[in-house]
């Protein structure tokens, strides 16, 4: 049995439709890897007919760093700091996902205090991530001011995280057995101050962009993704929920202390760009709600149950665990062989699985619409490539 392997060159066959002079000719255009829409380095080859997209061929791999190979040669403790560099906007959730898988494999218990801290931090991170996403969406659609407003709010939350964690982007904070450092004495006060501010700012976002008829026309009824397709294409997170499937691991399989809080899962009804947009806006409000319920109830106790310098042995076996990052389900497949280094570690990154639906969504729309579609899919390129 032989299996044919193609190359990109085969894939991009010569444009068709050139036989008659009266027919328009399809052409290929290279969007990226240096295109402003690829927030990172993602190459997308478009087969176009005038301004209309006929085919989308994403070519990722420009930021491929072989994280999984590195993971095989590092202990699980060491590997965690690499996960910051996947989806850098939800670095803490990435840390948490790997820690959670390791804890599950090695049977490590986590104290309540650590769980509270993890949950609050993760929600702050989600808030921060969505604030930036909102700004970037504005920039992609031409409203540059929104970009800087989004960054402004990201900075405010970043300051709080920085006080406790000591880093702004690559946090490496959540580790197997707990968290790396205890909360900063000012953390609770600052967080309480920032939550009403964020609420006010999200209302401002609604005034500046959501209420803007130009933006509404750019998003409404464009790139409609049905719930069935979203599931088939492996979409998770806000993309899936915008299509009406309320699958949120925070609800269905509560981890951390999500079972102790009351929040709603925002879902869309149509699955177009607008639903994806507004699901994230509403998620920000729900995140604030979650933090408000937790911030006063952080119990006292230890933050770490295993000695950091020690070896965490992963028993032989295959473990899969996942959680909800700002962009969807991050799954970790961990294959242990009894040593402290995983035999194989595989990361199911949410962006990798959310990307490919663009090959279906963008076809038939204009070149300006693929920008909007990509923005509402909220892709972070290093997470695709890993």
């Amino acid at each position: 049995m032989t299996v044919t392997v193609h190359t990109l060159h085969d894939r991009i066959s010569p444009p068709t439709g050139a036989d008659s002079s009266l027919q328009t000719q399809e052409y290929l255009i290279n969007m990226g890897p240096q295109h402003p829409i690829a927030h990172g380095s993602l190459r997308i080859i478009l087969r176009m007919d005038g301004e209309t997209i006929r085919e989308v061929i994403p070519v990722p791999g420009f930021v491929h760093r072989g994280l999984e190979k590195m993971g095989e040669n590092l202990t699980s403790l060491q590997f965690i700091h690499l996960t910051d560099r996947m989806d850098y906007l939800s670095a803490l959730m990435n840390n948490w996902a790997v820690s959670k898988a390791v804890e599950k494999a090695a049977g490590i218990e986590v104290t309540q205090r650590a769980q509270y801290i993890r949950t609050i931090m993760a929600e702050l991170m989600r808030l921060q991530s969505h604030a930036l996403w909102w700004g970037v969406l504005g920039m992609d659609l031409g409203a540059f001011t929104a970009f800087l407003y989004g960054f402004r709010e990201r900075e405010v939350i970043g300051k709080i995280l920085e006080e406790t964690i000591g880093a702004r982007l690559t946090m490496n904070y959540i580790i197997p057995g707990g968290v790396m450092s205890d909360l900063h004495p000012d953390f609770v006060r600052q967080t309480k101050e920032v939550l009403p501010y964020m609420k006010k700012m999200i209302d401002e976002y609604d005034v500046l962009l959501s209420g803007n008829v130009i933006l509404q026309e750019r998003l409404r009824n464009i790139g409609i993704l049905s719930g069935k397709d979203a599931i088939g294409y492996g979409c998770t997170g806000p993309v899936l929920r915008a299509s009406g499937v309320p699958w949120d691991l925070r609800k269905t399989e509560p981890y951390g202390v999500y079972d102790k809080v009351d929040f709603d899962v925002p879902v869309g009804s149509v699955g177009d760009n607008w639903d994806r947009y507004y699901v994230r806006m509403e998620e920000m409000r729900q995140s604030i709600r979650i933090i408000e319920q937790l911030i006063d109830n952080i119990p006292e106790g230890d933050i770490q149950t295993v000695k950091y310098g020690g070896r965490i042995k992963i028993p032989a076996g295959t473990y899969y665990d996942h959680l909800e990052t700002a962009r969807g389900v991050l799954g970790v497949t961990l294959v242990g062989d009894g040593t402290d280094k995983p035999y194989r570690i595989h990361l199911r990154s949410p962006n990798f699985n959310n990307l490919w639906v663009v090959t279906k969504l963008a076809v038939g729309w204009r070149i300006a619409d693929i920008i909007a579609i990509q923005s509402t899919l909220d892709l972070v390129i290093p997470d695709i490539d890993r």
Binding site: H81, T252, S269, G309
Partner: protein, 229 residues
């Protein structure tokens, strides 16, 4: 209000995977085929313009910080991770015993420890604590892992240099035993136990290849006094 009513959220519940989930359905936009809705849209455009003009008119809302000028008032978070330091007590002694846990836990071999046999104590003690900032990711693992609380991360972030070899630091000011051991010995023995080390001295390993000796930047900054920044 306009075409979007942000309060128009339908609370409901959905089921996924056999679990009931309380949901909130995000608002859809109203169609704008009536003249009234066009008016609403224009009003919303006006509200957006009012918002940006509001920020324009209030210079207090500017968030830019003028970085090199505000150096004196710039206050970074005390936990900010920008440079690795050995902790020194008021006598100038560090806590490092040269056990090598930090070296082992470092994910990218940024810490290289050499130890020697102490002449006075006859036990293993720190010779050189080499920290390679050029490959460090500031993951904080070494600080957390250190069982003797000998390391800390500092917020001194202005470390840019023209030659990356200058980013290889020797962190210990002296080769010798930790503060605990020094305290057990008589003060007159200390001088014999401690051999000064400077920041850039000696050969430094770089991917297995010996580095040429790097001259210190300035004579005044020769040793580690105030040079950890």
């Amino acid at each position: 209000m306009g075409l979007l009513d942000t309060k128009d959220m339908k609370k409901g519940s959905g089921t996924v995977g056999g679990v009931a989930v309380s949901t909130v359905t995000v608002p859809r936009l109203k169609r704008h085929d009536t003249a009234r809705d066009v008016g609403f849209s224009l009003k919303e455009l006006g509200r957006g313009m009012k918002l940006t003009l509001g920020y324009f008119a209030r210079p207090k809302t500017v968030v830019t910080s003028q970085y090199p000028e505000n150096r004196d008032t710039l206050k970074l978070a005390e936990r900010f991770r920008a440079s690795l330091k050995l902790k020194y007590d008021d006598k100038g002694w560090h806590n490092c015993t040269g056990c090598g846990i930090c070296e082992r836990i470092c994910p990218n071999n940024s810490i290289i420890l050499t130890t020697r046999k102490g002449e006075v104590t006859g036990k293993k003690e720190l010779d050189r604590y080499v920290w390679r900032m050029d490959s460090c990711t500031f993951c904080n693992s070494c600080v957390v892992a250190c069982p003797f609380d000998a390391l800390e991360m500092g917020p001194e972030f202005e470390n840019a240099v023209y030659d990356r070899r200058l980013l290889i630091y020797t962190l210990n000011r002296y080769a010798g035993p930790a503060a605990k051991v020094l305290a057990k010995h008589e003060p007159e023995q200390h001088a014999a136990m401690m051999e000064p080390r400077d920041r850039f001295g000696g050969d430094t390993p770089l991917n297995g290849v010996a580095m040429p000796k790097v001259e210190p930047l300035k004579k005044a900054n020769h040793n580690n006094e105030g040079d950890a920044s």
